[in-house]
């Protein structure tokens, strides 16, 4: 393991990869800051750029983009009360009031220090937890993997659905159905291609991600008449105020950072949960344990109220890498996109990754430390300048996002069919989003579809056509019990909601 860490440090600290982390954090901050464009869109836009890179550099760049996007989302939450990312909505509860009280600089500094601390502490947890989990998961068999993927699909449908669990499940089924287009991995039989040569290889993962996120986000900005531009003077250096924190403020932050890092990391590890739930939970938790006097400050510019979600969302981002790197199963929509990117590089994440490709496994973990340092020392002083991106009018921004999305897909295949198909998918996903159908379950279903089929096939063949593996293997049984609990919880919540109405 020590040798692996050294290889990882060596890889991550190469001049090229440090440049990748910096570029990723910078690009992520800019994209994450723009209301409407989240980390998934940011990473999706990066995929075509990384095609010529080696997998380690590509993953390092994408991890930097992920962090940067969360940090950028906090900036727009604090400065203009328009979160660029769902994971930073709760940062606006206390960040924006601070900004209105003339403490925008201080709020941004708190967000940066909290993100840095949360990310760094969680990266240490990851360093310890990932190899242990990878060792445990070596005992996993196909049936267990199948059960684990089902838990992942169910929980992302439960968490990402915002109360629309059935609609999220429809999207999961649709994602799985789209994954069956093209050749069957084992028999090479072509399915659902309708004689169209462009569909015989299946639907491109980059195309689907770009269309459902980047492109449909751009359509959505126009569609909902979202006013996303702000005057450059609103985010000027003079309006931000000091970014220095007093000793008392740091003392107030320290215990919150400790608690929220642990909470954020644990929530991040859970499949489907991610930064949004972690940040809301951390804010709620800090509020519930605060003294009666402190409780009144929450929502009005509380330092604790800003520190908690900022720490937790970054810790959750790091935590979501645990199932991705050790089990090969993404814990969130964003890591699902990363999994798709890794698969397209020919890298199969899973328990053997840290043995077979230690440079990739450890370099990504080590680069997270570098990413946190970059965000703190490079992005924080540059915020007044980077925030000027918010002054770009939407009628310039939208065509540019459409252009980067289309070009990204076209450059992979040089096939005009992909552009038509992408436009249709983007339009349909816009309609589905208006009707409250969440997109992350579709992407996760699409990405896990192939693996799910492979593992189910193997499990059934090993068991002579029987489904007995569901209750005969303890790991599978435990996971299926978890699935039943998730479904029962959703039914219970639905009944409670109806009663309340």
């Amino acid at each position: 393991m020590n040798e692996g860490i050294l290889i990882g440090i060596n890889t991550a600290f190469s001049g090229y990869n440090i440049l990748m982390v910096m570029a990723g954090c910078f690009a992520g901050t800019i994209i994450g800051m723009l209301p409407g464009l989240g980390p998934m869109s940011a990473i999706a836009l990066m995929i075509p750029i990384t095609y010529g890179f080696d997998p380690a550099s590509a993953m390092i760049l994408m991890a930097g983009v992920y962090y940067g996007a969360i940090f950028g989302g906090s900036t727009s939450s604090i400065l203009i009360n328009a979160p660029g990312v769902a994971g930073t909505v709760s940062s606006s509860f206390d960040g924006y009031p601070m900004s209105q009280n003339g403490q925008a600089g201080k709020a941004l500094a708190i967000a940066a220090y909290a993100s840095f601390s949360g990310g760094t502490i969680a990266a240490i947890f990851l360093l310890i937890a990932a190899p242990q989990l990878a060792k445990v998961s070596l005992s996993f068999q196909s049936a267990d993997y199948f059960a684990l993927m089902c838990v992942g699909l169910l929980s992302i449908a439960a968490f990402a659905s915002k109360g629309q669990f059935l609609k999220a499940m429809i999207m999961t089924a649709l994602g799985l159905a789209l994954a069956t287009v093209g050749q069957d991995a084992l028999s090479d039989i072509t399915r659902f291609a309708f004689g169209n040569i462009n569909l015989m290889d299946g639907i491109s993962f980059v195309l689907l991600v770009m269309a459902t996120f980047a492109m449909s986000e751009a359509f959505m900005i126009i569609f909902k008449k979202m006013d996303i531009s702000f005057k450059a003077s609103d985010v000027s250096k003079a309006n931000l105020g000091s970014i220095k924190l007093s000793k008392a403020e740091v003392k107030e932050m320290a215990p919150v950072i400790g608690r929220s890092s642990v909470l954020g990391f644990l929530v991040g590890v859970l499949p489907g949960a991610g930064a949004t739930i972690a940040s809301f939970l951390a804010w709620g938790f800090e509020r519930s344990i605060a003294s009666a006097k402190d409780k009144l400050k929450f929502g009005k510019g509380s330092i604790k109220g800003l520190t908690a979600p900022e720490t937790a969302n970054n810790a959750a981002c790091t935590g979501s890498f645990v199932p991705l790197l050790t089990l090969g199963i993404p814990g969130s929509g964003t890591t699902a996109v990363m999994l798709g990117a890794l698969l397209s590089f020919g890298v199969q994440p899973g328990p053997r990754l840290y043995i077979e490709q230690p440079e990739l496994f450890w370099a990504v973990i080590v680069s997270m430390y570098i990413g946190n340092v970059v965000l703190l020392f490079l992005n924080l002083p540059l915020i007044p300048y980077i925030a000027r991106i918010l002054a770009i009018p939407k009628n310039i921004l939208v065509p540019l996002v459409l252009f980067f999305s289309v070009t990204g897909v076209y450059l992979i295949s040089f096939n005009a069919f992909d552009i038509y198909f992408m436009a249709i998918v983007a339009f349909l996903s816009l309609v589905l989003r208006v009707l409250n159908y969440p997109m992350p379950p579709l992407i996760l279903g699409f990405i896990l579809g192939g693996m799910l089929e492979k593992n189910l096939r193997r499990a059934i063949l090993i068991n002579d056509g029987s489904f007995s593996f569901m209750w005969e293997r303890p790991i599978s049984l435990a996971l299926f019990v978890v699935m039943i609990i998730i479904v029962l919880l959703q039914i219970y919540q639905g009944i409670q909601k109806n009663k309340a109405k």
């Binding site: 499940m169 569609f223 096939r457």
Partner: protein, 154 residues
């Protein structure tokens, strides 16, 4: 039972998964695989069951509320959609540089940008910069008849 958008969409999904189920049953498998425990039809069949089940539940359990979709900019999105489509049609014939610039300029103009300076500065340098990055730094070759004709690329 009122028909609202949730129900209508659930009904469309129900029909989609029924058709998907039929198509799954029509997948041709090898003769020796026909009665196998798991063949190319099995997984799509399971997905269709899941899809039919959840879309049927959504159809039945959706509330009888009247849903308003609000005032959205349908026309603008459709025009942008057509623009992207047209971009796909012309990109092969007139090349990446010219088609992308045209796409960006028309989109900017359509969305209300009127300053020629802004339109030109937000399109030509962006496209030229990206093309330079692709050609010179990332070694990605994009066939471009226009740039070839004026001698910029070989």
């Amino acid at each position: 039972m009122n028909i609202n958008y949730s129900r209508l969409s659930a009904l469309i999904f129900l029909l989609f998964f029924i058709v998907y189920s039929y198509l799954a049953s029509e997948i041709r498998v090898f003769a020796f695989d026909e009665n196998a425990d798991f063949n190319a039809r099995t997984f799509p069949t399971f997905i269709s069951y899941l899809g039919i089940f959840v879309s049927f539940l959504t159809l039945v359990l959706s509330k009888n509320e009247h849903e308003k979709l609000g005032h959205y900019e349908w026309l603008k999105v459709i025009v942008l959609f057509v623009l992207v489509f047209t971009y796909g049609i012309i990109i092969k014939s007139i090349g990446f540089f010219l088609s992308t610039n045209l796409f960006l300029m028309v989109a900017y103009y359509y969305l209300g940008v009127r300053s020629p300076k802004v339109i030109i500065l937000s399109s030509i340098p962006v496209v030229a910069g990206l093309q330079f990055l692709l050609h010179e730094l990332l070694d990605v070759y994009i066939r471009d008849p226009f740039l070839q004709a004026i001698g910029v690329i070989s």
